[in-house]
């Protein structure tokens, strides 16, 4: 197996494969350290004594011969955003596969868990698919459906994707070792394909005249705390000063106050008027500092759109 991987999902995939009966021929991972992300795939690969190559090699068509020489049967791409040269995708004896944290073809591209929450989906999926040159387009090998909780956040849904995705990788490797011809290959319906890029919805700004469920979903979609959010946190303004909303909850309490108006302030929370209900803001970031909403919002003041 050749593992091309990044992030915590890559670390956990590497740990699972190393503990399985399948043989790791090498790992391709960056050496980038981020003080807020902990151990890297490269760290673990070095600890395990696996050969490690830098991510740039996936763009080198000649590296395909190296893969054939090593005897790679399966290439697994886990959360690496490198575009792999077509010659490398053809090099493994059995095939190349990508673990994608979303249902395909509906959620191709980046940040699928956040988009699913933002769009108000009731369920999600993690997908293991054959790799083709075009991103997230290959035939589906395995897919695990995931129920979404009412209070799902970007982090909790991402954790579910990893927890459900690792067993799919091991299932694929078991089937590949037994009978490669038995690996499923269900073509994607390209007419249903939606691709999400680097863009952040609403340019990262909250809009108070929206329904409460939309406001809260946007905040939850951005919530990866205590880890960094790929979208950042949605913005608003207080007396012209920018702030970010880190935690917000629905109250289901109807509201006819002007959108953005701050109502009751109690405990850590402050209620803010959306189009139809009060939204409870709990945690904000102001001038780079994380604070309880009740510390900075007073009843009667008004939040503007971000």
């Amino acid at each position: 197996v050749l593992l091309v991987a990044e992030d915590a999902a890559g670390v956990q995939a590497l740990r699972a494969i190393a503990a399985s009966r399948h043989r790791l021929g090498g790992v391709i991972a960056s050496g980038q350290h981020d003080a807020r992300r902990g151990a890297t795939v490269r760290d673990l690969a070095m600890t395990l004594g696996c050969p490690v190559w830098p991510p740039e090699v996936v763009r080198d068509p000649q590296f395909g011969q190296a893969l054939r020489d090593i005897g790679i049967d399966v290439l697994l791409n886990v959360y690496s955003l490198q575009v792999i040269a077509p010659a490398l995708l053809q090099a493994p004896a059995i095939g190349a596969f990508n673990l994608h944290p979303g249902p395909l073809p509906e959620y191709a591209g980046l940040n699928a868990p956040s988009w699913a929450i933002y769009n108000g989906e009731q369920c999600h999926a993690v997908t293991l698919h054959w790799m083709e040159a075009e991103i997230d387009t290959g035939a589906i090998a395995y897919r695990q459906r995931l129920e979404m909780a009412e209070d799902e956040t970007g982090l909790t849904l991402s954790v579910k994707c990893v927890q459900a995705g690792i067993p799919l990788l091991l299932q694929l490797l078991d089937v590949a070792a037994r009978d490669p011809g038995a690996i499923p290959r269900a073509a994607q319906d390209r007419t249903r394909r939606r691709y999400f890029g680097k863009e952040v919805p609403e340019r990262g700004c909250l809009s108070w005249p929206q329904p409460a469920h939309s406001v809260v979903r946007f905040v939850r979609a951005c919530d990866y705390l205590p880890l960094p959010s790929p979208w950042g946190h949605p913005g608003a303004r207080l007396d012209g000063q920018p702030l970010r909303v880190l935690k917000a909850f629905r109250t289901w309490r109807p509201c006819i106050a002007p959108a953005g108006k701050v109502g009751e302030v109690a405990g850590a929370r402050a209620l803010v008027a959306a189009a139809d209900e009060w939204v409870a803001l709990e945690r904000l970031e102001l001038a780079g500092r994380s604070v309880n909403a009740a510390e900075v919002l007073t009843s009667g003041c008004r939040l503007e759109n971000g």
């Binding site: 992030d7 915590a8 999902a9 670390v11 956990q12 590497l14 740990r15 503990a19 003080a35 807020r36 992300r37 902990g38 151990a39 890297t40 795939v41 760290d43 673990l44 690969a45 070095m46 600890t47 395990l48 982090l155 991402s158 954790v159 990893v162 705390l225 205590p226 880890l227 850590a268 945690r283 500092r289 994380s290 309880n292």
Partner: protein, 92 residues
Amino acid sequence: MADDIPDLALQEGIRSFFREGLHATVPAADTDLIATGVLDSLALVELLLQIETQYGVRVSLDKLDFDDFRSVARIARFVARERNSGDGAGAG
């Protein structure tokens, strides 16, 4: 949830979390969990939940520093410090 847990007992509790929760062996209390690939970001999230459940310490996001979690010994010191400060219920 017992008060005044000795440091060694804390260390053993934390090591058992890595052993049973993450299926990762930590050879020594001062093993660097990040450099050896044990503590990735999702494992940290699971560890924080465990610390909150097991020891009643809710880690404030403002205070979160990966360096406090770099080894079993450091985690034990962090938990003991938070418990003793009486400020364990930081806003999450």
